[in-house]
Amino acid sequence: MADPMKIRAAMLGDKVEVKVLMSHIMETGQRKDAKGASIPAHFIQNVTAVHNGKTVLSAQWGPAVSTNPFLSFRFKGGKAGEKVAITWTDNKGDKRTDEATISA
């Protein structure tokens, strides 16, 4: 099972600034293991961020996004105490959703 994300969401003026670290190998499909066998590609393909039922960001990624991906964005309309939920889905169908509370 995938490890939890680290999400920071904080007010920056009238906007919410979100910073996310995701635990994912983002495997390119070309590396070899100790025995010389190819390690299959394994990477996050889709990321969505939802606030109050509204999608505030959606992304499509390829394996060229760095391992343990980092993402930062900003949106309007959020308030301290509300929640932001991030979901990723990878090419093997693994999925993970985590939430963070917006801090002042």
Binding site: G29, P40, A41, Q60, P63, S66, L71, S72, F75
Partner: protein
């Protein structure tokens, strides 16, 4: 992996090997099954083909797009890139690395209320031009920045 990669990086010609490595994983049939994942765009090998696969005819140069990234990345495995756009009605932002054999790294849909700004980190197999392609008001625009990737130290 690291050792092989260093070697590849050191012997100039070998750089492409790593880059090829990045794409090869992309174009497998099962990957294309993902509902909201633009397989053809992620398989494209050039900036022009990527723009086409994303639905644009071409992308015009624009000074309204700003790429913030270091001129030199100490390591190609993690290259920090942020893109912001001051184009009216910015709908999406994509990050393309010209010399990664699969050009497209990531694309972001920007709904109303979200700043036309994203920050992420990408892998670069070698020094390359990095493009930001922005869709605004239905049209495609781009900006470019060169990023150099340096070699590491002690011999592998």
């Amino acid at each position: 992996m690291n050792i092989q990669r260093r070697q590849a990086l050191k012997s100039g010609g070998g750089m492409a090997v790593m880059a090829v490595a990045i794409v090869a994983g992309l174009i497998r049939p099962q990957d294309a099954l993902a509902a909201d994942w633009n397989g053809p765009a992620f398989a494209a090998k050039t900036v022009a083909d990527t723009v086409k696969a994303m639905g644009g005819a071409s992308a015009a140069d624009s000074k309204a797009i700003q790429i913030t990234a270091p001129d030199i990345a100490e390591n190609g495995m993690v290259v920090p890139i942020s893109v912001s756009s001051s184009l009216a009605n910015t709908q999406s932002i994509a990050i393309l690395v010209e010399k990664n054999p699969s050009t497209l790294s990531a694309s972001f849909d920007i709904p109303d209320g979200t700043d036309p700004f994203v920050q992420t980190r990408v892998k670069m197999g070698q020094s390359s031009n990095v493009y930001a392609v922005v869709k605004a008001d239905g049209k495609y625009y781009s900006a470019v920045k060169e990023i150099k990737v340096t070699l590491g130290g002690c011999g592998g």
